[in-house]
């Protein structure tokens, strides 16, 4: 699911000279960071492992420091994933995430938590998985 605001964000990033090959573009909820991501396979399957590629930018530039955490939850059911994802930094502002698994169909929220200069900022993607 690509939201209208994400599409606008992607257009803004292209106009601003940023480029990413990743499918989805988000802003953190406080609008201070841009998060791009794509999954393999795509779309995300039910009850099968998938991986993520993630990029994080601040003011259009890849984040040179900072940390990323990735998690997901089904807020209607008040539970998360059964697996703890493995996250590996692959370069400035880039991460590869493994061991992601959505074990149930339904509404999920995918969380990207960017830790930078002592503050955690969250970007989140609503996903309907079936």
């Amino acid at each position: 699911m690509i939201t209208k605001s994400a599409a606008i964000l992607a257009a803004a990033m292209l106009l601003g000279g940023c480029s990413t090959s990743l499918d989805h573009q988000l802003q953190t909820n406080d609008r201070n960071y841009e998060v791009s991501w794509s999954s393999d396979p795509s779309p995300i399957p039910v009850n099968d492992f998938f991986t993520l590629e993630v990029e994080v930018r601040r003011d259009g530039e890849l984040l040179t420091d900072g940390e990323l955490s990735v998690d997901a939850a089904m807020p209607h059911h008040n539970h998360g994933m059964n697996h703890v994802p493995l996250i590996e930094r692959t370069g400035p502002g880039r991460w590869h995430v493994e061991d992601m698994l959505f074990h149930m169909p339904g509404y999920w929220e995918l969380y990207f938590d960017v830790r930078d200069r002592g503050v955690t900022h969250r970007a989140q993607e609503p996903l309907e998985v079936d």
Partner: protein, 621 residues
Amino acid sequence: MIRPTAWAGLLATLQVLAPAPAQETDSPDRYQLDFNGLRAPVDARWLTDDRLVILESAPPAIRITDWLECSTATDIDCGEPAGLAIGPDDTILVTDAARNRILQLAPDGTTVRIIEPSDGLRHPTGIAMHDGHLYVADTGNDRIAVLDLDGTLLRSIGSRGVAPGRFRRPQGLDIDAADRIVVADTDNHRIQTLDLDGTPISHWGSWGSFPGLFQAPSDVHCIDDRIFVSDRLNHRIQLFRSDGTLVDAWGMHSVKPREGQGRIHYPDALAISPDGSRLAVVESFEDRIQFFGGDYPDWIDEETRREIESRPTTAPRTGIQSHFGPTVDLDDRIMVVWEPEARAVLIFDHQRQTPIRLTSIFSRGDGPGGFGHLVDLHWDHDSNQLHLFDRGTSQVHVYGLELPPADQPRFDPSMARLLTSRTLDPSIPMHRIVDAERDARGRWYLMEGSEGTIHVLDADLQPLDRWSIPDLREPAAMTFDPRHDELLVLDRGRNAVHRLDEAGRTRAVTAIATPEPPVRPNGLAVTREGDLLISDGGGHAVHRLSNDGTHRTSWGTKGSNHEEFWKPAGIVVDDRDRVIVLDHGNHRCQMFDLEGRWLMTFGAGRAYTPKNRPPRRPEDE
């Protein structure tokens, strides 16, 4: 000494229930009886002659029971009794969490010695004595302090953290048969064992409700190869072998407060009898101690015993997870309540006749956005942002809410979005903060619980100033009085309200001049006209005072019916002069007008008004 039958309301109810099916373990999980009508007991320990010493907190007192023959309570000179230990020759040692010291008492309650370590304690709670040394859970310093009886600090074990050997607000400890220190590492939701020098040996548990997990374990007691843990927010006792193997778990209250008879509600402390057969579970919240295991007392004759054992009921091991309180904030539309058992923040729209829950924010673990022990919530109706001040993880979390239109309230579990989580400047000990407030200029005020210190922060939570308030003895709550541009601080130790100007100078100290002095003031609010509203957790009442402290009215008595309270905590008033009181012990909110007339009672999933009273229960007829 008086017989229990003559206690006449002091130990008002003595109830006996059938035992659970025989266990093949050595777990004393068979409910036997309970003492009711105690005065907020916080700890208990057996003397060598099989008498039980009970430490009470409201007012501070000790009471010595001889298996249902009980002396009257003896008042002691203690600010906030928190922990109890029995030394050689039945020496009684009490930690005073408010005055940061240890009292050595004679059995008649007189103070024999005051132990005030030069390297100061901060909110000491659990205490044990071993080989002439005192082992103290120095909760506010996140460490174990080892002292001699002169107060000399021999060792300081641990500091704040999650690694083995570190602690987050440890509250209970004991020394086991293998000379290990066993610690209830409360905000880390685990048990740790260390050798007497402080070297970590083992730890087990994390946050959760499955057997073997913990929610804020508050006390441990060891005997032979057994470790008993009061698992406070799971409302149960857990028993482990010394290697951490789970043996048994029991107790959770199943339907509502006040049940007893084996159903445990917020166990604070526990004590095992010297022969290891009988367990006393201390429930300050219920003014009660329940006893499990052991032989029946002599006064139960054979016929009564047969009748007891013929009853089919067994102590439940599972129960509700729906509680309510103790922290609340609101504006003219939104009310926010912290529910610690579920690690959830509940958000209501209270504009209608009965409140409608809009969403819940659940904390999942200690990851980003996860919260553990909230001391304050602050809702900002201009920005639709919610600040959560988390003593458990020492962070401040900010959530943004996309509220539905006011005329279309609806529940949406994904309505709240985490904006940021941040660790405050190191100069601010977030883990010792007890309340937070914000003024009209956007400045934040964070108050330390045992120091009389208020940290002033800018709108971005960066430090601006630090105030040391003179003569502030036991700060409990704050609120801002916009009419007089004053920050008001409730001082539980002095039963007074300090009025501070914008520079932190004390303009006045207003005594809480109620006809009966408040027993344990918990919450503070101010009306549009400047009147003070104070919830009295020990007196089970709400007091309304004029701005100069003159008593206007009080309402409430101890109980569970509407218009009654059980240890009320947070209190707020909305722009329609409706007073909302978190009736914490009854797991509900109650709403009143300024004269104390009851308007509504509501909890998670139910609401009652004068037009919609609940059906009377048979026991009320």
